[in-house]
Symmetry: C2
DNA sequence: ATGCCTTACGTTATACGTAATTATT
DNA sequence: AATAATTACGTATAACGTAAGGCAT
């Protein structure tokens, strides 16, 4: 009976040109490879090589069998990839989000409702989230604009209000509220991966923003620095990092957003329990 | 690394329904099969079964992997078949003939010119011979009508004249020649597999013909019987069977035919030496 | 009681490596 | 001398079978 390892080794030989090179590539001794090539010929019942004195060459059969072998090997490789992919898709819920905060609330709820599922999240902008929802890359997405299309099933899943986090003694630290324009010009610390919140930079065109790509390092930076930074009501609630700063609400309307959890209408029933739990 | 025997055993399990049955079908012990199915799961890194207390069932992954596995296995099986077929085609010359005689002369010539080739012959009627030559089922055909089509390369390869073989003492045994109509009404022995020569039956509508499907048995029959039979100049020359009968030529034009060796024009060069040898 | 699957353990087959041999460049 | 392939022989991996056990129908 023919086996895949024979075909793998045969293909390796064809692609390498000599037994020696192929053996090395396969982490195998030359004699082993030589014998297995004989075995393959034997299993197939035909010759594959022309054995010249100091060189092993493919004959016509060999040329032809190589084409066929590649197909079998590719098919087998694709089996593995596709099987693992299929398995993964059946045990992970992929969620696309427009910002980090909604996950903090959703993740524990989903873990409870679907205890065997792994949750995988990715950040992107609203439009591409919906496109990738359409093509089943995500099962769920969270947008900050309500998609009004019948093909989606959607429900509000919380609001988030951005705030300034001012160091003690900052000139505005006693204020109840502040606007972007009032803070414009002040250099600020900006946490990474903030999704659509990136727009705040445009509201404060005269400010400079210092970012640290790693969140933990960023938090340390916040502790150490006296530059003002951002936070939000949800961040305060879910990410428990007492930093001794004074939180001041932002008065602009844009600083408060509503999040919407969206799935395909056709999958509504799968996630009914989740929508109810919100 | 995943191997074909694992996939074969997996497919056998799916098709049998239980490990026990599959093991039997595979001529394998149940524990071995059980272990190998675990190994397959391990190699793929996913589960394929739901292990109920007393039953092994496919899960969703298993269903899916089975489809993929069948494809790989079919591909591998087809590799073997196609490889052997390819090899055979490269080392056999398939010749289609309209009658047995031309082979007697051609076979030794071809064996000499292509010593590594196996010669395979098949009998059919002219039209189908040419059709099968077109579709590469034959590399060469022998017809008894000259095909006048530019796509063929053809050359005369001998004539054959049919004769009556009369037992000693037959009323016509002193004749130089005889016609079909003169012999019409006499019951005759007719050798099997005579190709287009079958038409002689139509020329002697009042005769009855006794056939014996095995050639050796037929020759014995000829020895034993006193019924007249057929032979030909080529049969006399190549098949050395002294039967003590008197051979009388047949005067009808139809009793002499010319054979034509034909190959595709595109393959002329391959068989140039053969055509020259005729 | 019988059928089906699994675990445990000893055996065998076979794929592998090392060393030596032959031949070629 | 260096590179390539094959042959010969001993080794080790892993696939296999037997025996025993658990758990259903």
């Amino acid at each position: 009976m023919i086996e895949l390892y024979e075909l793998r080794q045969f293909a390796a030989f064809v692609e390498a040109g000599t037994l020696s090179e192929a053996a090395e590539a396969l982490h195998l001794s030359q004699p082993a490879l030589s014998r297995n090539m004989k075995k393959l010929e034997d299993d197939l019942g035909i010759t594959l090589f022309e054995r010249k004195k100091n060189k092993l060459e493919l004959n016509e059969n060999g040329q032809y069998v190589y084409e066929l072998a590649r197909k079998v090997l590719d098919e087998a490789d694709s089996l593995i990839v596709r099987a693992r992919d299929y398995d993964r898709k059946n045990r992970t819920i992929s969620i696309g989000v427009c910002a980090p905060a909604p996950v903090w609330r959703l993740a524990p709820i989903i873990s409870n409702l679907f205890p065997h599922m792994t949750i995988q999240t990715e950040q992107d902008e609203d439009r591409r989230l919906l496109a990738d929802l359409d093509s089943d890359i995500y099962q769920l997405v969270v947008t900050h604009e309500k998609p009004d299309d019948r093909k989606y099933c959607c429900k509000e899943c919380g609001k988030e209000s951005l705030m300034f986090a001012l160091p003690k003694g900052h000139k505005y630290s006693r204020r109840k509220a502040l606007s972007f324009s009032e803070m414009n010009g002040e250099n600020m610390l900006l946490m990474p991966d903030i999704g659509f919140w990136g727009f705040v930079k445009d509201r404060m065109p005269d400010s400079r923003f210092l970012t640290q790509s790693d969140r933990v390092s960023f938090n340390e930076l916040v502790q150490a620095s006296s530059l003002p930074s951002f936070t939000s009501d949800l961040a305060e609630k879910y990410t428990d990092v007492p930093d001794g700063r004074i939180k001041v609400a932002i008065s602009d309307e844009e600083a408060t957003v509503t999040y919407y959890l969206v799935c395909k209408e056709g999958r509504r029933r799968e996630y009914l329990s989740l929508f109810k739990a919100l």
